[in-house]
Point group: C2
Chain length 296, copies 2
């Protein structure tokens, strides 16, 4: 059975649409005397995946008319020097948003770095104050992946109020904030968060009207775990070896796409689902930071 | 059928036990040259219930060998003057913890007051930074009611790992933080948060191994909503008119105690359940603040 396009939540296409809107907004903002939003991206060391992510963010910034300021630091940089760099960016009036690409080398305490970023420039939404404000429903920067997913649900007009949303995974970056966001006013879903310690996981995932999967295990969710007609959002991304593929691997999500797509009413693919929406979330946050600053 | 004492989660007795432990710890801390913990309680206006709560907190402080600094301000105080008072307490080296009793008069923005308290003295755990840190599982002050409930579950050795915990209510002060805490490492429950927009609430509450009720409606949870053998924690407190009672009312919780207690394996009563544990949570936080300061 083939999967009809109509059930695909096309994150790639949606990201393009929203990024065009952002570009227009930037143009209009600059036209009225505003400054181009400037995102500073700090990359420590030479991790290939991190470099790829940062490059993708830089490219998206350019597409939207942002300035991007790339700071590449050696992997042996001391914690104190990295913190000093963050403070320098906090103080720099030309910079609107700051991201420090994770993971960081082992000798650096990530929590200290995250907490050092000025909450007013915390466009990744990782600072505890940003997370607390999100919890309280106050205006803040919501971290890019959960924020991108809420945008996806809204743009696809997926009803969430009173729906049972099951989030698989309880990470600080996706699972936990996603659970909170889906439960809050505006989204109004009934939310269950399941994780590695959950017993009889399937009996819960089968109740989900909306299933958001961020467990970090390739093709973890199979068709028997999903209710007929569920909306399935796949946050995972994994390289799975495949000798028949050109590059020797294929990108897979946390969901066994082919079989789950048969049962789902809507499903986001990997690649081309949540990934592009994450970058879009970051761009929306950065534009907002630039506008906030110009109002301050 | 009578309800055997063995299934009662006696918050009043447990609070006494823990408060005695705190008193001993204060004595030992002071004996080693530490300073008595000092909790500043700010009360604005003359709301009777608020005054009762503050008085109960002050009395508990005294029992535990704390100093309590009561600040009573008139209801017409300006927002700026209240914020200035908070800043004064932030700067006061004698003060370890600060609470501002809620609710505040309508002309004052609660969020601004909450955010003004120095996170190092935020023993109510209402500052966004405290909430964010709790989310992340970092060391922080966890707000008193959810914190008191986790202490209750731990002291009663109620297993939480892999259990299905259903939290009824999504308030900033109880429901939402409770959901997060129960899901995090250490508690490791599978958590569902249900609320006013949830459809077919009963089908979910009936799945709960642990049911935490903070919906703010007197006797909302009835026996048919509860699974046999569930642990039930009742966070609500309401005055329900009753002409046969001396005072003309009785205190009731969010749970129809008599009938739910028949089905539950353990249940916290109202009064004498979560209430005293909330104050205990505040005391633990204040002692911790005093110790943190002495280490700083």
């Amino acid at each position: 059975m083939t999967i009809t396009d109509s059930k695909i939540i096309d994150g790639k296409q949606l990201a393009k649409t929203i990024q065009l809107e952002i570009a227009e907004e930037v143009e209009s903002f600059v036209g009225k005397g505003g400054k181009q939003p400037n995102l500073a991206a700090v990359l420590v060391g030479d991790d290939g995946a991190s470099r790829t992510y940062v490059n993708a963010k830089v490219a998206a910034c350019k597409r939207c008319g942002f300035i991007s300021t790339s700071i590449h630091l050696p992997s042996h940089i001391s914690q104190e020097d990295l913190l000093a760099k963050v403070r320098e960016l906090n103080a720099d009036k030309d910079i609107d948003g700051i991201i420090v690409q994770l993971p960081l080398p082992d000798h650096i305490e990530v929590d200290l770095v995250t907490s050092e970023i000025d909450p007013a420039k915390d466009v990744d939404g990782f600072h505890p104050e940003s997370i607390g404000k999100m919890n309280l429903g106050w205006d803040t920067y919501i971290s890019a992946t959960p924020f991108g997913i809420t945008q996806m649900l809204k743009r696809y007009k997926i009803e969430t109020e009173g729906k049972h949303c099951v989030v698989i995974g309880r990470s600080d970056i996706v699972g936990t904030p996603m659970s909170i966001l889906m439960s809050r006013k505006g989204m109004d879903a009934t939310v269950t968060c399941v994780h590695s310690r959950t017993k009889d996981l399937k009996s819960i995932t089968k109740q989900a009207d909306i299933l958001i999967v961020a467990i970090g295990k390739a093709e973890f969710v199979t068709a028997d775990m999903v209710k007929d007609g569920a909306v399935v959002i796949d946050v995972g991304i994994h390289r799975v070896e495949d000798s028949s593929a050109k590059k020797g691997f294929r990108l897979k999500g946390d969901v066994k796409f082919e079989e789950v797509a048969q049962k789902a009413s809507m499903i986001s693919p990997v690649p081309g689902g949540v990934g592009p929406m994450t970058i879009t979330g970051l761009l929306i946050n950065t534009l907002k930071a630039a506008k906030n600053k110009s109002c301050a």
